[in-house]
Amino acid sequence: MDRSMAAPTPGARSLETRISVNLDRMAKTANAAIVGALIGSALLGYYVSFYFHFATVFFLLLNALNFYWRHLQSTHTLLANFGFLAQVRYLVESVGPEFRQYLFASDVEERPFSRNERAEVYRKAKGIDSSGAFGTQREFETGCITLRHSFFPVSKDELHPFRLTFGEERGLDTAFTIERPVIVSAMSFGALGSNAVRALARGAAKAGVPLNTGEGGHPKYPLMEKADLIFQMGTAKFGVRDADGRLDDAKLEALAATERVKMVEIKFSQGAKPGKGGLLPAEKISEEISELRGVPMGIDVVSPPRHPECSDTASTVSFIRRVQEVAGLPVGVKFCLGRDVELRALLREMKTQGVFPDYITVDGAEGGTGAAPKSFMDGLGLPVFESVPAVDSMLIEEGIRPKLKLLASGKLIDARRQLIAMSLGADACLTARGFMLALGCIQALQCNQNTCPVGITTHDPHLQRGLDIEAKSVRVANYVNGLSHDHQEMLAALGRCSAKELSPDNLYVRGIRKDTGSR
């Protein structure tokens, strides 16, 4: 018989009694003690010194509160059963997340980013040495992906400079070239405060990488800096919508004519909440946000789950063409992969109509968000390292891979993950949270509460005060430079002269021993 199934021995039972706290008895004693303390301090106040009545008043209020908790309220069982001592549980519980992060969580176990992963970004952002010692702390026993280095690494001098031109396939005059394989992924003014947006935009300009505006409407704050912008158009089309929430061609044309706006992105879905439109609660719609996003004040604005113009593959492809024609810029699409069959139908429709977006961003389900239902974050969509190769091979099979660029996003905050994504088929990567960490994010996980302690995802002027735009923009630029440095070092070690030469051959996935074949 299984030993653990056996009845506990008397010895084990008494041990348990001896080491556990008898909360019931302790609470009864405490509840009686504060009544005693009240009487005692009242007597001392009367006979010895009136100063003791400070204690009398304290115990009077405590007793009143305790009486309410124990006998009058019915919401909190612990308080009803044990009185004020049960408050200790609530107090300690409320500081639990901080204690775990400061003291008890190990360097590799926190999510979404472990302390080691965050520290790596911080070191890059501060421009300090990021070497470590003694060996990796990553979990190597289960499900790991690593890069396969070459027997014959190349020298860094042999590396080709990175260049990726969007819109070259269509021969656009407005084709846009990036010279680093990193883009600041979509973060809107609204999700982020104005200081954070400006620090990001200024840092992106310093580092020479473009910034995706997110669905924040007219990009007022990014336009204050010199960064190249990718204007994102979500399902609610903030900034370019008409009264019914459909695309207003004139507004898009005017925005696309802005010098700094280099590309337009149609967002179909987001990894953290695919199939769901955002909700902007009425309380968050300030006059400024109402103006920038083109929505009325005083009512909740619910983004539709899909673009009203796009009800099937044919209308979706027509819509892409319409945006390309109106904007006159490279136009990309962003989605999180759901069902392969739908994407394949869409790709075939593109061939039928002869219309191709200039790039596709595949967002992994592990991607970040300012606010999303937990069930969506945890339960929907494909992870980036599954969906990038799936989309890449579908594009190749349909023969349209040469027609467009493929970008990847979703937790790609370090060079390792970025190179893995590029080996799986992506031409370049986007990261949002990597840049937030560079701005000083401490992963307090309060992005949806307007209480961000480091002033990034909040509009509270008091909390934004500490976020110095100039100082943080330097860190943003440093982070990009640090990533570039790692990219080059790692490419050289992989024996590749450019990111274009990366292929699944460069990857080793535990459990899949054979080479996956070059593309």
């Binding site: 106040g45 009136f50 400070f54 008043v57 209480t451």
Partner: protein, 129 residues
Amino acid sequence: MKNALLWVPRLAAAAILLTVGYAKLTASPPEVALFLELGMEPQGRIIIGVVEFTAGALLLSPQAATGALLAVAVMCGAIIAHVTVIGIDLRHSWLLLTVLTSALIVMYVRRADLPLVGRTFGRGTRSVP
């Protein structure tokens, strides 16, 4: 509506608290006499004056619940003083009962804002985000 009406008890309690707090801090003769009787002159007078002044100021700020709690505490002390040492007189009783009732109303309406224990009162009107 509720928030606008709440200004009535907030203003009433704050006006009285700021006045009597000011009188205590500037050592007005009647206050000095009271605290001599309690055997707390001058430290007790200054401490109570500061608490009353703080409570009055907080009642006018977004932290009205904390101000109301302080006001209730000071008024409890005042009741003890009048019942056990000084004796009850009409003028003080009126002021005291006005502050106590007003502060209790504010504290009840804003109970969810109370420091530390506020969250155990469930869904009260939270004024501080």
